[in-house]
Symmetry: C2
Amino acid sequence: MSDLVTRLRRHNWRITPQRRVIAETLEGSHVHFTADEILERACERMPELSRATVYNTLNEMVALGEVLELNLEGRSKRYDPNADHEHHHLICEGCGQMKDVHTVGDPLDWLPGDERHGFAVTRASVTYRGLCPDCRES
Amino acid sequence: MSDLVTRLRRHNWRITPQRRVIAETLEGSHVHFTADEILERACERMPELSRATVYNTLNEMVALGEVLELNLEGRSKRYDPNADHEHHHLICEGCGQMKDVHTVGDPLDWLPGDERHGFAVTRASVTYRGLCPDCRES
DNA sequence: TCCTAGCTTAGACTCTGTCTAAACAAAGAT
DNA sequence: ATCTTTGTTTAGACAGAGTCTAAGCTAGGA
């Protein structure tokens, strides 16, 4: 069973067939999909699934804190099911692929107090960019 | 005179009245505007300015490397005229305002070699999130 | 069984951003 | 001064991503 579904159930969130298919599609890949890519893949298992349900479900999972919404390249958001593990992203500027990475230490420690402008800073995310091995060659 | 205009002129880029108004609007504020916010403000000085020109001009300034395009919260991109200074961003999760901040040290140093997956990593950007002083109170 | 609350659906709609074709402007050639 | 060429601006049509709405559906409780 999908680990994401387990985490969602803990919030007393009703797991309908639609929501299960969406959660499993999201978790089943190590790539971070857009909403439309999730719709497309989920429709292979449940053809009558609607676009609105995919958007509703993704937004609710984000609101529950179990899925991360990524607003990186291009016009569409991508969704990352590993909201519970502290991690960051590495993007290839050639082909657009994205990998999860981990930093040494906590980026919050790298923002000195006089740079915080009185904010209560709670989160930090780092995006690295470069060229993947394939794109370096060509 | 606007510093951004000076930098743009160095690229042998024609500074038309429209482009000047857009550049000065962009640079005149410490907030990072969306394209439509820039259009709205620039139209106060040049009412016949068209939306297409604002988008064209912003995209060209980004291509010249003199303006940064930020894809953070919400549906629209924001534009940052300080492309030449290494800096990162702090966003208020309450009201959405955004400030420029500086880290101690270089974020590229926080990504160990075995986390690079063979990429040639060239850039890193850090986004901090939290609540600004006003939003903390309410 | 009936009610209620919540979930799903199709499709209309909104918002950002891009594209196109035509009008316009500036600089150099004649 | 006029013409030509090249690049710029414009309005409006278009496209993609995401939201909203109203109606129908489903599951669980009285």
